[in-house]
Each structure stands twice: as structure tokens, then as C-alpha cells.
């Protein structure tokens, strides 16, 4: 029983970290219909900025998070303006080509500028150490990640489903020309959504850094993980991404516990099963 509880907690913690890191991608892929393979690259930029601010400048963790989000968004603005704007509404494969290209560039530049070693973001004392749950302990930063994940999920859900802006962005994705013909400035809507998605990527990069350490190849290393979470959840759906993260976290964690040597089989067979049962994602928007 204790073991089961313990695994459940690990699963929850891992799932929420997956969620925080992937949710920005769900916004770009589901709402903006851009297959943004450079998501990891932006998360990584966030990680580097936070590491630089918190460790090298000694500004502390909270400042690091802020610098990461704001800095990454600022870096992303010209990229959106000159590159992404060209691929909105383009065939998916064209988007793949462009965003992979961006990723390669980011990897190369990071490698050149910061070198290939791992970068860490020092945790504040309040997030270090672990919390004793009686039968086991759990790292405090994971509890923080869980909480942040829930807050992000709620805010994002509200923004997309309940506000006028949310409606405009969804309309623009369905049919940009028609949305414009109704008087919506789609470029602005797109730019803002992109900024939100990038901010989330940066946040995820920072919060997840304890599990997925920041290094130049980060940008590609976890791409598949992000893609799987988003697609299983159904791109563009916040609840879907949340459920998918938790479910995949649980499958991965139990698989790794019960039969680590077949963990990979376990995980991907489960993915196949889920996708076959829910071909549109757990809560996917209709195409």
C-alpha cells in the first residue's frame, strides 16, 4: 500500500512537471495550429536566462523566473515577426521545416555562446530539501511545480475559454481570413498568443530544470516527450493536456517501477492504446 501511494505521488509530481513544460506547446499547436518543434528551444532559452540571472548574477530564484519569461518573450518577438508570421496557416510540414531550422540555430548558437555543459538554476532555500510525508519524502521543488502547474492550467483555461480574446484567437485559427473580415486584427492576436506560449515555454523550462537539466541539446532531446503529451491530450485543450500529462506520468512511473527494462515498451504501447481509443486526443478540439 505504501508503495502504491508512493508511486502515485511520484506519478503526480512527474505528470505536473510534464504539464508545465508542455502546455505552451499545446497553445501553439492547438490554438495557433503551428507545429512548433522549437518549443524546447524556447524553454531552453528560458532555462539559460534563469540560470544566468539566478546563478551568475546572483539575483535569486524569483527574479530568475521573471527574467526568463520576459527575456525569452523579448527574444521571441522578432522571431515571431520575421519567421513565424510566414508560416501561420502554412502546411504542417513547412512549419516543421522552419521550426526545426530555428531549433538547429538555437542549439548551435547556445553551444557556441555557453558551451556544452549543464547549467543549473540554484533553488532558493525554501524550495530545497524535501517534505516528509510520513511514509516517504518528496522534494519541495516538485510540490512547487505541482502548484504552479495547477495555477497555470486554471489561468490559461480561463483566458482561452472565457475571454473575448480567447474567442478571437480560436476564430483566427479556424479561418484567419474570415476573422480579419470581421474586423479582428489577426496579426496582433497571433503575436499575443505566441508571446503567451513562449512565456509558458520559458516558465516550463525553469520549473522543469531539476528533472530536465538545461544544456544546448535540450531543445531537441525532449521534443518527442512534449509532442506526445500535447497530442495525446488533444492539441489546444488545457484540460486535455492536464489529463494527458497526469496519465502519461502515471504510466511512465508505474512502468519504470514495475518493469524498468520494458519501460519503453510499456509506455509506447500505452500511448498506442490511448490514441486508438481517443483518436482526437483525450479532449481534443474538433478539426
Amino acid at each position: 500500500m505504501q508503495t502504491v501511494m508512493s508511486i502515485a505521488i511520484d506519478a503526480l509530481a512527474y505528470g505536473m512537471v510534464l504539464f508545465v513544460i508542455s502546455i505552451g506547446l499545446s497553445v501553439t499547436m492547438g490554438l495557433m495550429r503551428v507545429v512548433n518543434l522549437a518549443h524546447g528551444a524556447f524553454a531552453m532559452i528560458g532555462g539559460y536566462l534563469a540560470s544566468y540571472a539566478a546563478r551568475d548574477l546572483g539575483l535569486g530564484y524569483a527574479a530568475g523566473v521573471l527574467v526568463a519569461i520576459i527575456g525569452t518573450v523579448i527574444i521571441a518577438v522578432p522571431i515571431e515577426r520575421f519567421l513565424y508570421r510566414r508560416i501561420y496557416g502554412a502546411p504542417e510540414l513547412t512549419q516543421v521545416l522552419m521550426t526545426i531550422g530555428i531549433t538547429f540555430c538555437v542549439i548551435g548558437i547556445t553551444n557556441f555562446a555557453f558551451g556544452p555543459t549543464l547549467k543549473t538554476i540554484p533553488l532558493p532555500p525554501s524550495l530545497q530539501g524535501s517534505l516528509d510525508l510520513g511514509f516517504r519524502s518528496i522534494a519541495t521543488h516538485r510540490i512547487f511545480a505541482i502548484a504552479s502547474g495547477l495555477v497555470v492550467a486554471a489561468l490559461l483555461w480561463f483566458l482561452i475559454e472565457k475571454t473575448a480574446f480567447g474567442i478571437k484567437i480560436r476564430a483566427a485559427v479556424d479561418n484567419a481570413a474570415m476573422t480579419a473580415a470581421l474586423g479582428v486584427r489577426t496579426e496582433i492576436v497571433y503575436a499575443v498568443s505566441f508571446a503567451v506560449a513562449i512565456g509558458l515555454a520559458a516558465l516550463g523550462g525553469v520549473l522543469g530544470a531539476e528533472l530536465l537539466p538545461v544544456e544546448p541539446y535540450y531543445a531537441l532531446r525532449y521534443m518527442v516527450t512534449f509532442l506526445v503529451v500535447v497530442s495525446v491530450g488533444g492539441a489546444g485543450s488545457i484540460p486535455g493536456a492536464l489529463i494527458a500529462s497526469l496519465l502519461l506520468g502515471a504510466i511512465d512511473t508505474t512502468g519504470r517501477y514495475l518493469a524498468p527494462e520494458y519501460g519503453e515498451f510499456f509506455f509506447y504501447l500505452a500511448v498506442i492504446l490511448i490514441v486508438t481509443l481517443f483518436p482526437r486526443g483525450l479532449a481534443g478540439r474538433l478539426k
Partner: protein
């Protein structure tokens, strides 16, 4: 003399390198109802799409209330008072009926959607349905209602009656007439049902291969059997 709500001079446009609209000039007085007729593929849709900023323009001016909007993007034209109901309806499939209507509100309060429901009670019943789950006629109603909610000064309608039941068609045409006669709205209508169009309009232009081949009063067109036969391919009008 106040500027015409819509004035088009020497407009040409098309898709990619091909020209579809050639050198077109006309103007529409305030509160009038202009019908655009023509056979298949003559450029009616292209003309409206060009006015709405959805095709590639090669040259010419489009004045909306005196201001040249030809170089402005689609959204700016809409905000300047141009409404557009495309032939393909272009309902947003993943948005609910209500959300579809909200997109068209521009800067009006949310409560304004009730106006649309008053016009089409059927939409109110289906307000929580997704756009993709509507019947063809319901989509048509939604597309029209969505544009009218934006209170355009010039409304471009591309075959708004297609797929609607006869009763609804009558009601809708009446509603359009009222809107136009109140002077708030100028309407430009493309329609296949020639009789309905002529009953509705106070001015008609007929397109042939991207050019204006005939223009004048509806009664004059009805009387000009030769032109009707040649340009519209129909024997006679009753």
C-alpha cells in the same frame, strides 16, 4: 454632396498572376441595394472578395465613405464599416454559435447577440452547438447574422439565400430591405435567383468575364430580353 458609401474606380484583381476582375468602376449611393448578377465563374465572388480585401489587388481604388481603403488590410476595412458574408459561409467550425456571433461584434457589448437571435430564432436554439455541427441553412443564417452584428455601413452578401427555406428567404429579404431603407446600410448582393434579386434591388450590374457588361435599373434589365438571354442564359423572367 456627401461621399458615396462605396465607390470603386478602375479596380482589377485576381489570384496569383491571373487577373479575374478587370478595370471595374461603379458607385453605390447611400441606402441603396445593388444586385450583382452573372453566370458561373464570371467573377461575382471575386469582386466581393476584392472589396473585402481577400484577393490580390492589381490596381484601382476602393473608397468607403470617401476614404480609399484599397491598400488597407481586411481587418481595417471591416473596422471602417465593411461587412462581408462570403459564399462559402466560413462559419468557424470549432466555435459555438454564440462564440461565432461574438467574433462579429467588433466593439459592441456582448448583449448585442440578442439582436441576432431575434432575427434567427433557430440560432438561439442551437447557440451551444459547434459551427461544424450546424445544418447548411443554419450556417448560412449564422454567417449573415454575424456580419450584421458588426453594424456595417456597407454589407456585401454573396448568395445569402443559398440553402435557406423559402419562408426564411422571404423574411430575410424583407429584413435586408428594411436595413437598407432605414438608410443605415448599403447592400451589395450577389444572387443566383435572378427574380429575387431583381425584386430586391434598385440597381443592377451584370458581370461577364470580370467586366461589367450591363448596368441599370432592375426593370430595365427585366425588359431587355436579349441581354438577359445573353448574359444570364435564362429564357425570360416572369
Amino acid at each position: 454632396m456627401p461621399a458615396q458609401p462605396l465607390e470603386v474606380t478602375e479596380l482589377s484583381s485576381g489570384y496569383g498572376p491571373t487577373r479575374v476582375i478587370e478595370d471595374m468602376s461603379f458607385s453605390v449611393p447611400a441606402g441603396s441595394r445593388l444586385a450583382v448578377l452573372g453566370r458561373n465563374g464570371m467573377g461575382k465572388t471575386s469582386l466581393l472578395a476584392t472589396l473585402a480585401g481577400q484577393t490580390r489587388r492589381f490596381g484601382g481604388a476602393i473608397r468607403l465613405g470617401g476614404r480609399d481603403i484599397a491598400k488597407e488590410p481586411s481587418a481595417a476595412r471591416a473596422l471602417a464599416g465593411l461587412g462581408y458574408v462570403p459564399q462559402t459561409r466560413d462559419v468557424f467550425p470549432t466555435l459555438t454559435v454564440e462564440e461565432n456571433l461574438l467574433v462579429g461584434l467588433k466593439r459592441r457589448p456582448k448583449t448585442a447577440v440578442e439582436e441576432a437571435y431575434a432575427m434567427f430564432p433557430r440560432l438561439k436554439e442551437r447557440r451551444r452547438n459547434l459551427g461544424s455541427q450546424l445544418s447548411g441553412g443554419e450556417q448560412q443564417m449564422l454567417s449573415t447574422a454575424r456580419s450584421i452584428l458588426g453594424q456595417p455601413s456597407v454589407l456585401l452578401l454573396d448568395e445569402p439565400l443559398e440553402g435557406l427555406a423559402p419562408v426564411i428567404c422571404e423574411e430575410l429579404m424583407e429584413a435586408f430591405s428594411k436595413l437598407a431603407q432605414s438608410g443605415d446600410m448599403t447592400i451589395m448582393l450577389v444572387e443566383q435567383r435572378i427574380q429575387s434579386a431583381l425584386d430586391f434591388a434598385d440597381h443592377v450590374i451584370v458581370l461577364e468575364r470580370g467586366r461589367i457588361a450591363w448596368q441599370g435599373k432592375p426593370q430595365a434589365l427585366a425588359a431587355d430580353h436579349a441581354a438577359v438571354e445573353r448574359l444570364l442564359g435564362v429564357g425570360g423572367l416572369h
